[in-house]
C-alpha cells in the first residue's frame, strides 16, 4: 500500500530544467515575479504567427494526457475564432488524477511560468477571453497573487480570470471545464460540439493543460531547434512525471522523453528485479507487466505496449498485486464517474464487481468472460473518456497478467487473501501536497 509522506523533486541528471525551478531547487516557496523576469520570463511577443510556426516545428504535444499536437490546436481555435468573432483560452489546472501532482506543483510554485505561457497562447489564438481553471485552493491563490504582481504592459490588455471548482475525477475533462465556465456543473458534455468548435460563451475555445502552456515561454525564448535538444523526434522536449509506488516516497521528475524506464528506476532507487509492472497515465492508461522494463518513456514506445504516457503519472508495482490494484482503480471509477451516461455508470459498476470478486477469490470463468467482453464493447460508449479508462484497466489486466488472473480464479493469491491492498485512491499523491 502506498502512503506517501514526502515529495522528491528533481530534474533528470545532467539537464537544465525547463519546467522545474532552474538549478533544480527543491523550494517550498512560490517563484517570485522578479525572479522569473530575471531569468528572461515574459519576453515581449512581436510576432505571434512566427511563434506559432515555432510551436509547429517543435512538435510540442499536449501534456494533459491526450498528447494532441499543440500547434494544430492553436491554429484551429485561432481560425475558428476569426470566423466566429472571438476565441477563448482556458488554462486547465484541474488535475483530477489522484496519482498525479505535476499541475498542482507548477501552479503553486511556478505560476508565472504558466501565466507567461497562457498569455503567449492567448496572443497566438487572438483570444478575447482568458481563464485559469483549477480546483486546488493553494494553486488558485498562487495564480491570483502572481496576476497581481504582473505589470499590465506585460499582459498587453489581456484580462485573466481564475475560476475554482470542487475537485473530482471528471472535473478536469475539457468539456466539464467549459461547462463550469458557462455556469453549469463540473461534468462533461457529449460531443459534438467539441470546445474548439463551440465552447466558453459559445466561442471556439482552447482548453490547454498548464504543463503544455508552461513549455511555451522556453519555445518563445529559444526556438524549436533548442526545444528539440531534449527528447526524441516523435516525443520532443521534457515532461513532468509523478512517480509513486514501490514503497518509495513519491517524486516529481522532469524527464527528457525517450529515456529508458530502467534508468528511471535507477534514479528512483527501485531495483528492476522487484518490479511486477506499472499503472500508467494516472489511472487511465492501464497496467503493463514487466515488458515495461524494455520500454522508453515516450509516446511511441508506450503505445507499442498498448498503454500510454498520459499525464506522466507512473505507479510502480512491486509488492502490490495487479489484480488488487485493478480492483481499487475500478472501484474508484465506479464511485467517481459523472453518473450521466448509462453505459458508464452501469459498466464501471459491473467491471468493478468482477474485479473485486476476482481479488477476493470469488470470480468464476463466466465473470471473467463478461469482463473481457465489456473491456472491448464498452469502449467509446461514454460522453467522456472515463469509461475508456475503466476498459483500459480491465483489458490490460487480462492481457498483461493472465497467469496472475488465473491464480485468483483459484483464490491462490496470498496477498489478496490477507487484504493487503485496498486503497480507495491507489497511489494518490494529494497527501504530499495537502490543500
Amino acid at each position: 500500500m502506498t502512503t506517501t509522506t514526502a515529495l522528491t523533486i528533481a530534474a533528470w541528471p545532467g539537464i537544465e530544467p525547463r519546467l522545474l525551478l532552474p538549478g533544480g531547487e527543491d523550494s517550498e516557496d512560490t517563484e517570485e515575479y522578479s525572479s522569473y523576469r530575471g531569468q528572461g520570463g515574459y519576453q515581449p511577443l512581436d510576432d505571434a504567427d512566427r511563434l506559432l510556426g515555432e510551436v509547429d516545428l517543435s512538435g510540442l504535444l499536449g501534456r494533459g494526457g491526450a498528447a494532441f499536437p499543440m500547434a494544430v490546436k492553436l491554429r484551429t481555435v485561432r481560425d475558428n475564432g476569426r470566423r466566429c468573432g472571438g476565441a477563448v483560452v482556458v488554462a486547465n489546472g484541474e488535475e483530477g488524477e489522484p496519482a498525479s501532482v505535476k499541475d498542482r506543483w507548477l501552479l503553486r510554485h511556478r505560476p508565472h511560468l504558466v501565466l507567461d505561457g497562457l498569455r503567449l497562447a492567448a496572443k497566438m489564438v487572438e483570444a478575447t477571453r482568458v481563464d485559469v481553471y483549477v480546483s486546488d485552493q493553494r494553486a488558485a491563490e498562487a495564480v491570483e497573487t502572481a496576476l497581481a504582481e504582473v505589470d499590465a504592459a506585460v499582459l498587453d490588455g489581456l484580462a485573466i480570470s481564475v475560476s475554482t471548482v470542487q475537485p473530482s475525477y471528471v472535473a478536469g475533462e475539457e468539456t466539464a471545464a467549459v461547462r463550469v465556465l458557462n455556469g453549469g456543473p463540473a461534468k462533461p458534455t457529449d460531443k459534438p460540439p467539441r470546445p474548439f468548435e463551440e465552447g466558453v460563451a459559445g466561442l471556439p475555445t482552447m482548453v490547454s493543460n498548464v504543463e503544455t502552456l508552461a513549455n511555451l515561454p522556453f519555445l518563445h525564448r529559444h526556438g524549436a531547434r533548442v526545444f528539440r535538444g531534449h527528447g526524441i523526434s516523435t516525443s520532443p522536449g521534457t515532461f513532468l512525471a509523478t512517480i509513486t509506488g514501490a514503497g518509495r516516497p513519491a517524486a516529481l521528475y522532469e524527464i527528457p522523453h525517450g529515456v529508458g524506464f530502467t534508468e528511471l528506476l535507477t534514479l528512483h532507487g527501485v531495483p528492476a528485479d522487484q518490479v511486477r509492472g506499472v499503472l500508467m497515465g494516472g489511472y487511465f492508461a492501464g497496467l503493463v507487466n514487466r515488458d515495461i522494463l524494455d520500454a522508453t518513456l515516450d509516446h511511441e514506445s508506450l503505445r507499442r505496449l498498448n498503454s500510454g504516457l498520459g499525464c506522466g503519472a507512473i505507479a510502480i508495482l512491486t509488492d502490490d498485486c495487479p489484480v488488487a490494484v485493478a480492483a481499487s482503480v475500478m472501484a474508484y471509477y465506479d464511485r467517481e464517474n459523472a453518473g450521466q451516461c448509462g453505459s458508464c455508470f452501469n459498466g464501471t459498476a459491473a467491471m468493478s464487481a468482477v474485479t473485486e470478486a476476482l481479488r477476493d477469490g470469488l470470480a468464476t470463468d463466466e465473470d471473467l468472460a463478461r469482463l473481457e467482453r465489456w473491456s472491448v464493447v464498452l469502449r467509446g460508449r461514454g460522453a467522456c473518456a472515463t469509461l475508456d479508462g475503466a476498459t483500459n484497466v480491465a483489458a490490460s489486466l487480462l492481457i498483461q497478467f493472465p497467469q496472475v488472473v488465473a491464480r485468483h480464479l483459484e483464490n491462490g493469491c496470498k496477498a489478496c487473501r490477507s487484504g493487503a491492498f485496498g486503497a480507495l485512491r491507489p497511489y494518490e499523491v494529494e497527501g504530499v501536497m495537502p490543500a
Binding site: L61, G64, G65, A66, A67, F68, V72, K73, R75, T76, N80, R83, C84, N92, G96, E97, D103, E173, E174, T175, P188, T189, K191, R194, F196, E197, G202, P204, S208, N209, G281, F284, A285, G286, H299, R303, N306, S307, G308, G310, C311, A338, Q340, C341, G342, S343, N346, G347, S375, V376, L378, R379, G380, R381, G382, A383, A385, N392, A395, I399
Partner: protein, 97 residues
Amino acid sequence: MRIKLDRTLCDGFGVCAKHAPGYFSLDDWGYASLEGNGEIPAEDHHAVTRALLDCPVHAIIEMGGHRAAPPPAGNVKEAPEPHVKSDDNEAIWGFVR
C-alpha cells in the same frame, strides 16, 4: 440529415434501436450509442426520424445545416493514445487536463 445522440440524456428506452438498428446500438443495460458519424443518407431518413421523434427523453438531436466552426484540418479523430483492444473505438481521449 445529420444527427447526434447525447448519451448523458439517454435513459435506455431502446426505441431508437428498434426503429433504426443500423444507427443505434444498445449496451447490456439498454443504453444507446450512435453508430457512424451521424450522417444519415436519404434512404434512412424515415427510420432515423422515427427514432428521433419517439425518443422519450429527446436524446437524439438533429444538427442544423451549418456549424459554428469546421473541424480542424488535423487528425483530431485519431486517438494518439492507447487503443487497448479497441476494434471500433470512435472516441478520442477526451481528457485534456
